[in-house]
């Protein structure tokens, strides 16, 4: 039973890793997120290769975790933290985006007026 799970999780983690690498290669992922996802992919791959480790007495003794479902819960909180982090990042970007749009509009108006004044000044000399 375990071997099937191992194969599925292992394959998924390899796909995740390859996908991450492809994104990095295309330059679609910033370094900080690239590291995060490479780390996540590697961690899942390791888990799938040595699942016995999580079922061993040593691991249970060290961490106090006796059920595999606890690990799922920990993963869930890890993902929750990532999503929260993204919300913070998006909020910040929205604010910066707004500031840029406003600055852009003000500068454009200023520039148009400047150009109009220059043209009306230049005309008589031509």
């Amino acid at each position: 039973m375990l071997i099937k799970t191992q194969i599925i999780v292992g394959a998924l983690s390899i796909i995740l890793l390859l996908f991450t690498l492809e994104m990095i290669r295309k330059g679609r992922l910033r370094e900080e997120y690239a590291i995060l996802w490479l780390f996540t992919g590697t961690a899942v791959l390791v888990f799938s290769l040595w699942p016995e480790f999580f079922l061993s007495k040593f691991f249970s003794k060290v961490t106090g975790i006796f059920y595999l479902s606890t690990i799922v819960l920990i993963c869930f909180f890890f993902l929750l933290l990532i999503v929260l982090h993204f919300s913070v990042v998006i909020s910040k970007l929205t604010g910066q985006n707004k500031d840029l749009a406003q600055r852009h509009a003000l500068l454009e108006l200023e520039f148009k007026e400047f150009k109009k004044n220059r043209l009306s000044l230049d005309k008589p000399s031509e």
Binding site: K92, G95, Q96, N97, K98, D99, A101, Q102, H104, A105, L106, E108, L109
Partner: protein, 242 residues
């Protein structure tokens, strides 16, 4: 002209090609000495062209920011160009420009830093739908308690601000549904607010930015937002508002 205070009328407009020209012309007739700034909030129709044809100054935002970002860039312009008074009028023809002078009078007497045209006081009785009135009165109650000042129409977009308020808004202005939040922000910064009676007409063209489906979301969000504004650190004057 030297002694007269420089006044700017800010008209935020999003897809208001049908009414923008009439609004501009109405303001021009009643207040010929005022400069008019139309903030085109990324409209997809001819709003910008129509406003330019009516010879208003037009600020074109490259993307749609929503009413908060659009009004704020108007205040930034007013701040930059050294205007003493900024009037905010909706682009859909709901407000009567003849009443602008009433707002300015209160400002010039120094009784307040911002004056709001309220449709719920005085002889001008607004006949809105029952639900909307209840919603607005709940907001008004909440804001009155938070600011310690009686507010009747917190969602009114008909406002006049003096230099002090303009400078505050240029650096710090709430987004999404800013009108009620601004009142809490003002009282947090120690600025004074007053309401005067004003008439509000039914919309001539286009749709109100608040549809019935969004009403509950709106109420929840605004109540939360005014609460957040009142517990947030007091905003400083400088820096870029976010």
């Amino acid at each position: 002209m030297e002694s007269e205070k420089k006044t700017l009328v800010i008209i935020p407009a999003f897809n208001e090609e049908g009414s923008i020209r009439r609004v501009i012309e109405a303001v021009k007739v009643t207040l010929p000495q005022c400069a008019i700034l139309v903030v085109n909030d990324g409209s997809t129709d001819q709003t910008s062209e129509e406003a330019k044809r009516a010879s208003a100054v037009v600020l074109d935002l490259p993307i749609n920011l929503g009413i908060g970002g659009a009004v704020q860039v108007g205040y930034q312009y007013a701040c930059q160009k050294g205007y003493h008074i900024a009037i905010q009028v909706d682009g859909d023809g709901q407000h009567d420009p003849k009443e602008i002078s009433k707002l300015i009078e209160v400002l010039e007497r120094g009784e307040a830093d911002m004056v709001i045209g309220s449709r719920f006081i005085g002889e001008s009785r607004y006949k809105g739908s029952g639900m909307r009135r209840i919603g607005i009165s709940i907001l008004a109650q909440a804001i009155s308690i938070m600011t310690g000042q009686k507010v009747t129409d917190p969602t009114s977009g008909f406002r006049a601000s003096n230099r002090k308020a303009i400078q505050l808004f240029a650096h710090n202005y709430p987004q999404d549904y800013p009108e009620p939040e601004v009142l809490v922000l003002l009282s947090r910064c120690g600025l004074k607010m007053r309401e005067v009676p004003a008439t509000v007409y039914q919309r001539e063209y286009g749709e109100s930015s608040i549809t019935k489906i969004r009403a509950i979301y709106y109420m929840t969000k605004v109540l939360l937002a005014i609460f957040v504004t009142s517990v947030r650190r007091k905003p400083k004057g400088g820096g870029i508002g976010g």
